[in-house]
C-alpha cells in the first residue's frame, strides 16, 4: 500500500537531488535539468496531497500549470544557453564571469 508519506519522501529526495545538481554540476544544461527536477518534486507533492489529504482538485490543476510553465521556462533557458554557446563556444558555468565587481 502506497501512502502519502512515501510520496512525500520521494518528492523530498527529488528536490534535494535537484538542488545538489544545481550546485555541483558545472554544465549549464545539467543545471537546467536540476530546475526541472525541483519543479517536478513540487508537482508530485501537489498531486499526492490532492489524492490523500485535501480531497479537492486544486492540486491537480496546479500540477498541470506547473508542467506548462516548466516547458516555457526550459524553452527560454535553452534559447539563452544556445546564445551563450554561440558567443563563448562552451557551456561551462565557470566561463560566465564577465559580470563581477
Amino acid at each position: 500500500m502506497v501512502s502519502l508519506a512515501s510520496y512525500l519522501i520521494i518528492s523530498l529526495i527529488l528536490f534535494v537531488v535537484g538542488l545538489v545538481v544545481m550546485i555541483a554540476r558545472k554544465n549549464i544544461v545539467a543545471i537546467l535539468l536540476g530546475i526541472e527536477l525541483i519543479l517536478n518534486a513540487a508537482a508530485l507533492n501537489f498531486v499526492a496531497y490532492s489524492r490523500y489529504a485535501t480531497n479537492n482538485l486544486d492540486g491537480h490543476i496546479f500540477s498541470l500549470f506547473i508542467i506548462v510553465v516548466a516547458a516555457a521556462e526550459a524553452a527560454v533557458g535553452l534559447a539563452i544557453v544556445i546564445r551563450f554557446f554561440q558567443i563563448k563556444e562552451t557551456i561551462h558555468i565557470d566561463e560566465a564571469t564577465q559580470l563581477r565587481n
Binding site: 518528492s11 536540476g34 501537489f46 496546479f62 521556462e73 539563452i80 558567443i87 564577465q98
Partner: protein, 488 residues
C-alpha cells in the same frame, strides 16, 4: 454563470487591454518593414493604449473591492494603485527604449512587446488572491524578464546576465513552489481566504512544516524584489542588461513583488500568533541587512548603472519597513514611496542612458563637469540624487519621513537607527556623483549633443512630480491612504 463572468470582466478591462495590446504588437511587429516611420507608429500605438488603460484603472480605484473569477483575483484600490504605478513605469521605459542606442534598432518593438508582457504578469501578481495566481504571476514576470535582460544578444555580458537571471530565477521559483505545495497540503487549499482560518489551529509538527514552507515561499518573492540574501543576481543582471531594461526592472517587477509581499503578510500574519511574531522578526532582520548591504556595496562601485542597482536594493530594504508594521499607515507609506521612487528612478536612468550612449561607457567619468555641458540636465540629475538620498524639499524626503514615522510609532527604535545610518551612507555616494558633476573637470569642452527637445520635455515632465510631491504631498498621501485599506 455566464452573466456573472461578464460582470467580472468589467473589473478586468485594464488587463484585457494589455493582453490585446501585446498580441496586436506581435502582429504589427511581424508585418513592419525596417523603416523609421512605421516603427514610430508602433511606439505611439503602444504608449497610447497603455495610457488608455489608466482610465479603467482610475475607475476601478473608486469601486468597492471585489474578488473575481472564483476568488482568484482581487480588484481593490491597493492593487489598482500598484497597477497604475507599473503602467506609468512601463510607459517611461518604452519611451526611453525609443531613443536609447543600447537596444538594437531591429529589436526595439520587441522590447515593447516584452515590457507589456511583464506588465501583464505584474498586474496578475499585484491582484493575486490565491497561490496559483501568485505562481503564474511570478513566472509570467520572470520568463519574459530573462529574455529582456539578454536582449543585447551579440554581447556576451547581456547573454550572461540573462543566463544568470534564468538560473537563479528558476531555482528560486522552484523552491517557492515546493513551499507552496506543502502549504497546500497542510492548509488544505490554495485560496488565501480558505487557508487563513486554518493557520490558527496549527500546532507541533504541522506548525513547523508551515513555518518552513512560508520561508520557502518567501524565497520566491524575496528573489523578485532582491532582498538580502537573494540579491546577488541584481547588480550582475542590471549591469549586463540594456539600460531601458534596467530602468524597467527597477520599477515594475519590484512593485509587483512588494504588492504580493504586502498582501501575503496582511492575509496571514495579522493575528499576533507565534507565526506572526517570527515573521515580523524575520522581516526586521532582512530589511536591516538588505539596506546595509545595498548601501555599503554601492559606495565602491565605479559604474553608475551598478550604483543605481545597489541603491535600488537599499530602497527596497527601506520600503519593506512599511510591511513590518502591519498596519494601514505602513501600506500608505509604501505606496507613497513607490510613487515617488518611480519618477526619481526614471529620470536617473534617462540621463545615465543618454550619457552612456554618448560616451559608450557608464563610469562616473561621463558625468564630469556636466553642469557646464548641459546645465538643465545636471541640475535635474543633482536634484534627483538629493531626492533619492532623502533630502528636503523633494519627494524622496517625504517618502522616507513616512517610513520613519510608522516605524517609530510602533517603537522599533533599533531598526529606525539602522535606517537613519543607511540614509547617511546613501547620501555619501549620491553626493559623490553630484560632486563630480559640478566640480569635475571634463576632458573636452564639448556640449552634450543629441539631447533633443522631446527628451528634455520628458525629463522636465517627470521632474515636476519629484518637486511637487515634496511640497504638496497631501493629495497623494490621501490617495495612497484610501488605497491602503483592502479586503482579505
Amino acid at each position: 454563470m455566464l452573466q456573472e463572468l461578464f460582470g467580472y470582466l468589467s473589473y478586468y478591462i485594464p488587463e484585457l487591454m494589455c493582453i490585446v495590446l501585446m498580441t496586436t504588437l506581435l502582429v504589427a511587429e511581424a508585418s513592419v518593414k525596417d523603416e523609421h516611420g512605421s516603427r514610430d507608429k508602433i511606439y505611439a500605438y503602444a504608449i497610447a493604449v497603455l495610457g488608455l488603460t489608466l482610465i479603467p484603472l482610475c475607475q476601478n480605484m473608486g469601486k468597492n473591492p471585489v474578488h473575481i473569477f472564483h476568488n482568484a483575483i482581487t480588484i481593490d484600490a491597493f492593487s489598482t494603485l500598484v497597477k497604475i504605478i507599473m503602467v506609468l513605469g512601463t510607459m517611461g521605459a518604452i519611451w526611453l527604449s525609443r531613443s536609447s542606442r543600447d537596444i538594437y534598432t531591429n529589436l526595439k518593438s520587441e522590447f515593447a512587446i516584452m515590457a507589456v508582457g511583464v506588465l501583464i504578469g505584474g498586474m496578475l501578481l499585484a491582484s493575486a488572491n490565491n497561490m496559483l495566481t501568485v505562481y503564474l504571476g511570478i513566472e509570467t514576470l520572470s520568463i519574459l524578464s530573462y529574455v529582456m535582460s539578454s536582449l543585447k544578444r551579440d554581447e556576451s555580458t547581456s547573454t550572461e546576465a540573462g543566463m544568470k537571471y534564468a538560473l537563479y530565477g528558476g531555482l528560486s521559483a522552484g523552491v517557492a513552489l515546493f513551499g507552496i505545495s506543502h502549504l497546500y497540503g497542510t492548509l488544505g487549499s490554495i485560496q488565501f481566504v480558505e487557508m487563513m482560518p486554518k493557520l490558527a489551529g496549527l500546532e507541533g509538527g504541522r506548525l513547523a512544516i508551515v513555518l518552513i514552507s512560508f520561508l520557502m515561499f518567501f524565497v520566491g518573492i524575496g528573489y523578485k524584489i532582491s532582498l538580502f540574501p537573494f540579491h546577488m543576481w541584481t547588480p550582475d543582471v542590471y549591469q549586463g542588461s540594456p539600460i531601458p531594461v534596467t530602468a524597467f526592472f527597477s520599477i515594475v517587477p519590484k512593485m509587483a513583488g512588494l504588492a504580493t509581499l504586502v498582501r501575503v503578510s496582511f492575509v496571514f500574519f495579522t493575528d499576533g500568533s507565534a507565526l506572526t511574531v517570527s515573521w515580523i522578526g524575520l522581516m526586521l532582520v532582512i530589511s536591516a541587512m538588505t539596506m546595509t548591504v545595498g548601501n555599503v556595496t554601492a559606495i565602491g562601485q565605479s559604474s553608475v548603472k551598478r550604483l543605481l542597482a545597489f541603491s535600488s536594493i537599499g530602497h527596497v530594504g527601506m520600503m519593506i519597513l512599511g510591511v513590518v508594521v502591519l498596519n494601514e499607515v505602513g501600506v500608505q507609506a509604501i505606496l507613497f514611496y513607490g510613487i515617488s521612487y518611480l519618477f526619481m528612478t526614471l529620470i536617473a536612468f534617462y540621463i545615465t542612458s543618454h550619457l552612456s550612449d554618448m560616451y559608450g561607457t557608464d563610469t562616473y567619468d561621463v558625468f564630469k563637469g556636466l553642469i557646464y555641458k548641459h546645465p538643465v540636465m545636471a541640475i535635474i540629475m543633482a536634484s534627483v540624487l538629493f531626492s533619492l538620498a532623502g533630502m528636503p524639499p523633494f519627494s524622496g524626503f517625504i517618502a522616507k519621513f513616512n517610513i520613519f514615522s510608522v516605524v517609530i510609532e510602533k517603537k522599533y527604535y533599533g531598526i529606525a537607527i539602522v535606517a537613519a545610518v543607511n540614509s547617511v551612507i546613501s547620501l555619501y555616494y549620491y553626493m559623490k556623483l553630484a560632486k563630480i558633476m559640478v566640480f569635475g573637470k571634463s576632458d573636452g569642452e564639448e556640449r552634450v549633443l543629441g539631447f533633443t527637445f522631446q527628451n528634455q520635455a520628458v525629463i522636465v515632465a517627470l521632474f515636476i512630480p519629484v518637486v511637487v510631491l515634496g511640497i504638496f504631498w497631501e493629495q497623494v498621501m490621501v490617495l495612497s491612504g484610501n488605497a491602503s485599506v483592502f479586503i482579505k
